[in-house]
């Protein structure tokens, strides 16, 4: 069922049950948001997406209000922009204005909004939350002074990852996102929370100080770790991968695991294996593929002749493609002649 409504004077048709925000986005109308992510449940916390609906006493949040037939929505006017401005200004009044040294600068929604509303002076300057302690976990830099309490990290950890490693503790002005008992984060370190955070409150430790956003070249790739084959985007500066992200519209919806998101340092490791090695006199020596393959074929033939095909077993990898794994079992069965073949992801 489709519903027809009017947004900023335009007649618009959307699916019944959509929210106003979905309708607005489908039609390329800009409404600022901080706590919304299309992949998560609506929250209604940041209040930036306020819109006016004809006949309603107060402005309502577009992200939590479903459309109804004949609704007349206004997404921008002086009153609404004034409210949005006040909200951003309030957020900035409790925010370290650290953009000069912040990893997120250039890719930060809060910074973008401050730019959009041209906020320099702050009418509401006052006390700021100050947290001295830093989180000792190995993967995620948590700077809760920069947190705007949009709750996205909490929701993604709960709704998508199913881990519930963090929650919002305390309340009012003292509200704070933290792991149980404010201990160091101890979770799967999937980094889903880092990927949805609109500010620099959550960043990958591995990427800290590695370069500004503007210098990054983004290269689309596929995660080499497992058979899921998640789509990843490599952030490259000076020929070095400094961060991995994933696009929300990819097959894995932008979600990765700890390996895909943070396990990329092997890329530039000096110990990385780049050539085949043959052990001679107790020492590994670099060699050519031709020589290595001839050597393997010869040794496999010798073993098969002396002890039979079943003396040989093959273990392939989830990091190979389906086609490669198919070929490998074909090789073991048809060329070697044994059913001793398995795959690391099959246990």
């Amino acid at each position: 069922m489709m519903v027809t409504l009017t947004i900023d004077g335009r007649s618009i048709k959307v699916r019944e049950g959509s929210t106003i925000l979905q309708a607005v986005r489908e039609n390329d109308i800009y409404v600022p948001t901080l706590c919304d992510d299309p992949r998560l449940e609506p929250y209604g916390g940041c209040r930036l997406c306020l819109v006016r609906i004809k006949g309603m006493a107060r402005p309502v949040t577009a992200c939590t209000t479903p459309v109804t037939e004949g609704m007349e929505v206004e997404t921008t006017n002086e009153e609404i922009e004034g409210l949005r401005r006040t909200i951003v200004e309030l957020l900035l009044s409790d925010h370290p204005t650290d953009c000069m040294i912040c990893e997120k600068a250039g890719d930060c929604t809060l910074q973008e909004l401050a730019y959009f509303y041209n906020l320099r002076e702050n009418r509401f300057e006052g006390e700021r939350r100050k947290y001295a302690d830093s989180d000792g976990n190995p993967f995620i830099e948590r700077n809760m002074e920069k947190c705007i309490l949009c709750g996205k990290c909490v929701r993604v950890c709960n709704e998508v990852q199913g881990v519930n490693a963090i929650e919002i503790a305390y309340r009012g002005f003292s509200a704070k996102v933290c792991p149980p008992f404010e201990k160091d984060l101890d979770c799967e370190f999937c980094g889903q929370c880092v990927s949805v955070c609109p500010t620099g409150a959550l960043m990958g430790k591995i990427s800290m100080g590695m370069g500004r956003q503007k210098d990054i070249e983004k290269v689309e790739s596929v995660c080499p770790y497992c058979g899921c084959g998640c789509n990843i985007t490599l952030h490259v500066t000076r020929n070095e991968v400094i961060r991995v992200s994933s696009r929300p519209e990819s097959l894995n919806e932008g979600w990765l695991c700890v390996k895909g998101r943070f396990g990329f340092k092997f890329n530039s490791s000096p110990e990385r294996l780049k050539y085949p090695l043959i052990k001679r006199n107790g020492q590994f020596e670099e060699t050519s593929w031709d020589e290595a393959l001839d050597y393997v074929a010869e040794r496999l033939g010798d073993i098969k002749d002396s002890y039979g095909a079943d003396a040989i077993a093959g273990l392939s990898s989830a990091r190979c493609t389906n086609e490669e794994n198919y070929l490998f079992q074909k090789f073991m069965r048809a060329a070697i002649g044994t059913n001793n073949v398995d795959h690391c992801a099959r246990y």
Partner: protein, 140 residues
């Protein structure tokens, strides 16, 4: 509580309550009521800044329109009512009138403590300095 109590102190009391009760989910209530309280606090401490009463009213109204639940929506109401520049000023002008018998008696139930009266008089002076044609009578 009776008509001799300072309305600004009452507003402060209510805002302290709101601060304790705010869940912290939405921005206007979480940070906004904190800022309202801070502004009131500095006025009563004698550190008020020019334009503070207007800022209070603007912020109160924005919190009222933008908050998620009834707590934020009503929390700022008390400050809108009790510290609305006009009513606070009328309270001050009332004292002023009684003292100097220059301005006719102004009807208002809102009273403010001496610190606030001092601030409002100061603010009137600031404004007068900026627009010399304005008369304090207009605030009645």
């Amino acid at each position: 509580m009776d008509e001799t109590d300072c309305m600004v102190n009452i507003a402060k009391y209510f805002l302290e309550f709101t601060q304790a009760e705010s869940c912290g989910k939405c921005v206007p209530c979480r940070i906004g009521t904190k800022r309202l309280l801070e502004i009131l606090q500095r006025i009563t401490d004698g550190r008020g800044r020019p334009g503070d009463t207007g800022l209070l009213e603007k912020l109160s109204n924005d919190i009222k329109s933008a908050s998620l639940c009834g707590l934020g929506q009503t929390a700022s109401g008390i400050s809108v009512m009790s510290i609305r520049p006009t009513s606070m000023r009328s309270a001050v002008l009332q004292v002023y009138a009684r003292t100097f018998s220059r301005i006719p008696y102004l009807k208002s139930s809102a009273r403010a403590a001496p610190c606030v009266q001092g601030y409002v008089l100061q603010e009137l002076l600031w404004e007068r300095r900026n627009s010399p044609t304005r008369s304090s009578r207009r605030y009645a």
